[in-house]
């Protein structure tokens, strides 16, 4: 792994830590109820963004609008900063410091090792360079004995560049894994080893992997695996760091940035703004998503920053508000930085082996690809709530759709997404549960069932008919 032009320094990070100790005091309550909503509202008004959400057109096609959102997001990042919840102090930056943080983030990365390496580049809207697809089991709990198979099946498709996460084994050798205990330390290593075994079964031993993201809760899982001889490999693997909505971090999370300075490696820093939450509606969420990308670089020294949006009403990523908000945020980020902005393709409210989950993945993936995301990750059927309801052939479909959309015009993408949304939105209140991994995969041959292929082929044909070059 190598990050090209990465310029962050330990001195800068120590300065961040100093600000967690000495920055202005602000309670979480004040932050949630006043600072964030007030700043978002002010920026939406100041930059004349109110009412720009267009529920009939879900992929933004107006570059100047994206640039106005960028200005609003940058201004919010300067004024709000990020809150350290442990010390209840604001980590504030000057405009110049934030500009330097963005310049310090890499514009190119090599992920994975050996022949499984992939190159990630900064992309622009409608860019033909392929988006990097990191799919697998994004945090859904599963029976530990399924571990290697879950990853191995996801990696059977070359449209999947890397494994976002091996997922969350429910147990280690039959014992529950509990946050903040030695079980978490051991569970993190267990998750990594299950994932690595799956990658070897798929014939892709050097593929990049997020490691212990399914098990980790307090950073102990990562501290126990990253850079150890049998754990995650800083040469090829990624540490995910997830600041909390909205613009909040903690010492658990900062521990992981510190770990990168000790062990080397790469930080994928994800922040979600939520429709209906502290940032308000689609316009406000786009502004705070942009601010979060900037602050993920400044606070956590993100190599792969990620400021994106999902919906507090159903925790999914496929509502009209979410699709539009993500589209404008990613376009703003890709047009105004040389960083590697990421997105999530896969907060799906439907379950595996349904046409609805494939529509959800298609609208998200197409939107992110044409808007200029450098990478995307997923996936989480039924929002990860039901153990063993894990993506199977859906990972392949998501990877293929994302790749096929690169180079597509935003106009064409918008028309396709509009058609697809109509195919599922009336089912969002009562989404189909789908089927579990054991029901869908032959655990001896690791082949998905005929039922999986039937749904996959049906929806794939519909996408081809709509103009997606699959």
């Amino acid at each position: 792994m190598s990050a090209i032009n990465k310029l962050y320094t330990l001195t800068d990070f120590l300065e961040v830590l100093d600000r967690t100790q000495n920055g202005p005091v602000c309670t979480q309550d004040e932050w949630n109820k006043k600072i964030i909503p007030r700043t978002v509202k002010e920026k939406v008004e100041e930059y004349h963004l109110r009412g720009t959400f267009d529920p009939e057109n879900l992929i933004n096609r107006d570059d100047s609008l994206a640039d106005e959102f960028w200005k609003a997001g940058f201004s919010m990042a300067v004024e709000a900063g990020m809150l350290c919840v442990d010390t209840e102090r604001r980590i504030l930056f000057t405009e110049e410091e934030l500009e330097n943080a963005l310049k310090s983030a890499p514009s190119e990365l090599i992920l994975g090792t050996g022949k499984d390496r992939v190159r990630m580049l900064h992309r622009m809207p409608e860019d033909r360079y392929p988006i990097i697809t990191l799919f697998g089991n994004f945090g859904t709990p599963y029976d530990e004995e399924l571990g290697p198979a879950v990853t191995a099946v996801a990696l059977q498709s070359r449209a999947v560049d890397g494994c976002n996460s091996p997922g969350s084994p429910l147990t280690i050798h039959g014992r529950d894994i509990k946050a903040g205990t030695p079980y978490e330390v051991l569970g993190g290593m267990h998750e990594v080893q299950l994932g690595k075994a799956g990658a070897r079964m798929a014939g892709r031993p050097g593929v990049t992997m997020q490691g212990a993201s399914g098990v980790e809760a307090t950073s102990l899982a990562y501290l126990g695996t990253y850079g150890t001889s049998k754990g995650s490999d800083p040469e090829g693997d990624v540490i995910p760091i997830l600041p909390m909505t909205c613009l909040k971090t903690s010492y658990y999370l900062l521990n992981k940035t510190a770990l990168i300075y000790n062990a080397g490696g790469i930080a994928q820093v994800s922040h979600y703004s939520m429709i209906g939450g502290y940032s308000g509606g689609p316009e406000g969420c786009a502004v705070s998503a942009i601010a979060s990308l900037i602050l993920c670089c400044a606070v956590h020294h993100a190599d792969m920053p990620f400021g994106t949006v999902f919906d507090a009403r159903d925790y999914g990523g496929s509502s009209r508000e979410t699709l539009w908000s993500n589209s404008i945020a990613v376009q703003a980020e890709s047009r105004n930085t040389k960083t590697l902005p990421g997105t999530s393709t896969g907060n799906c409210i439907a379950g595996p082996c349904t046409d609805m989950i494939l529509y959800e993945l298609a609208v998200q993936g197409i939107g992110h690809s044409v808007s200029g995301a450098s990478y995307t990750l997923g996936l989480r059927p039924r929002m990860g709530r039901y153990p063993n309801y894990i993506g199977v052939i859906e990972n392949w479909f998501a990877g293929e759709t994302c790749k096929a959309s690169c180079g597509m015009s935003r106009n064409d993408a918008n028309e396709i997404v509009k058609s697809l949304v109509k195919k599922y939105e009336d089912r969002m209140e009562k989404p189909p549960q789908g089927k579990s991994f054991r029901e869908l995969v032959d655990l001896r041959t690791l082949k998905p069932s005929k039922e999986c292929f039937d749904v996959y082929n049906k929806v794939k044909k519909e996408l081809i008919d709509l103009g997606v070059p699959l």
Binding site: Q28, N32, K33, K34, I36, P37, V85, G139, P141, S168, L170, D176, I177, K178, A179, G180, Y183, E184, G187, G214, V215, E216, A217, T218, A221, M244, T245, C246, S250, Y252, M274, I275, G276, G277, Y278, S279, G280, G281, G284, A312, R313, D314, Y315, E321, M383, G384, R385, Y386, P387
Partner: protein, 247 residues
């Protein structure tokens, strides 16, 4: 039938005459606009006017908070406004209940909820959504924040009194075990039949609720309200053999 009026000196020092109906409407509107100062003012006016405090709560504050809930569902307002409106309502209740008899206070506050995100988990937005929506629906919610230990859940519930709901949120697979630990602590301290235990959060589902012996499970924020209402309406003997599920 005569109409009672109260002469009110407003900020501009002009004298206005208001009726009981107008006071109740102002209380409601003050909650809708999450104006805590206005809530204080109109709650005091209500008492001066002789409005029954319970009526001021039910016909004034509660109507306002119900309207807030409706606006939130239509995405006309968002979580921070709901939280501020809930705060304003609590302030109003605090003023009005000073003039209530102890028995009346207990009557008004019988639907109590202690809520928090379990230890090992610092995520708060899902819990805050549920906390706000329960307040909007008339429950007295005591929010313990994030990283709440089983001991703290139990001790805080004891302070609120028997019949309180303990509502626990968890986003992480590895933290949801602390929901089970809280139930175990209730069992081990002989308190399991005193409290209704409700669970939710990103990795929580009906099977988990059944496995750990919870009394209720709600998938989304409105589901939490459905479960809590059902408990308070029916007051079943605890613990339940099967949890009340809403999804």
């Amino acid at each position: 039938m005569g109409i009672n009026y109260l002469y009110v000196i407003n900020k501009k020092s002009t004298t206005n005459m208001v009726s009981k109906g107008e006071i109740l409407e102002e209380l409601s509107n003050s909650v809708i606009s999450y104006d805590e100062d206005a809530v204080k003012k109109w709650a005091k006016e209500a008492l001066d006017f002789g409005v029954d405090p319970r009526e001021a709560i039910v016909e004034g504050l509660s109507k306002g908070i119900k309207a807030v809930g409706e606006k939130f569902h239509k995405l006309e307002i968002f979580l921070p406004e709901v939280m501020l409106a809930a705060d304003a309502m609590k302030t109003g209740i605090g003023i009005l209940e000073e003039k209530m008899l102890e028995k009346e206070k207990e009557e008004m506050k019988k639907n109590k909820v202690v809520i928090g995100t379990v230890v090992g988990d610092i995520h708060d937005i899902g819990k805050n959504l549920v906390s706000a929506i329960l307040s909007v629906n008339g429950f007295e919610v005591h929010d313990l924040g994030t990283e709440v230990s089983p001991i703290k859940f139990v001790e805080e519930a004891k302070k609120m009194g028997g019949g309180t709901i303990i509502a626990m949120s968890s986003l992480m697979t590895t933290s949801r075990g602390y929901q089970a630990d809280t139930i175990k602590r209730l069992e081990d301290t002989g308190l399991r039949d005193k409290f209704f235990v409700m669970v939710g959060g990103g990795v929580v589902n009906p099977e988990w609720a059944k496995k750990i012996g919870a009394d209720g499970y709600g998938r989304l924020m409105d589901d939490a309200v459905v479960v809590a209402k059902k408990f308070f309406e029916e007051r079943p003997k605890l613990p339940l053999k099967e949890p009340i599920i809403s999804e």
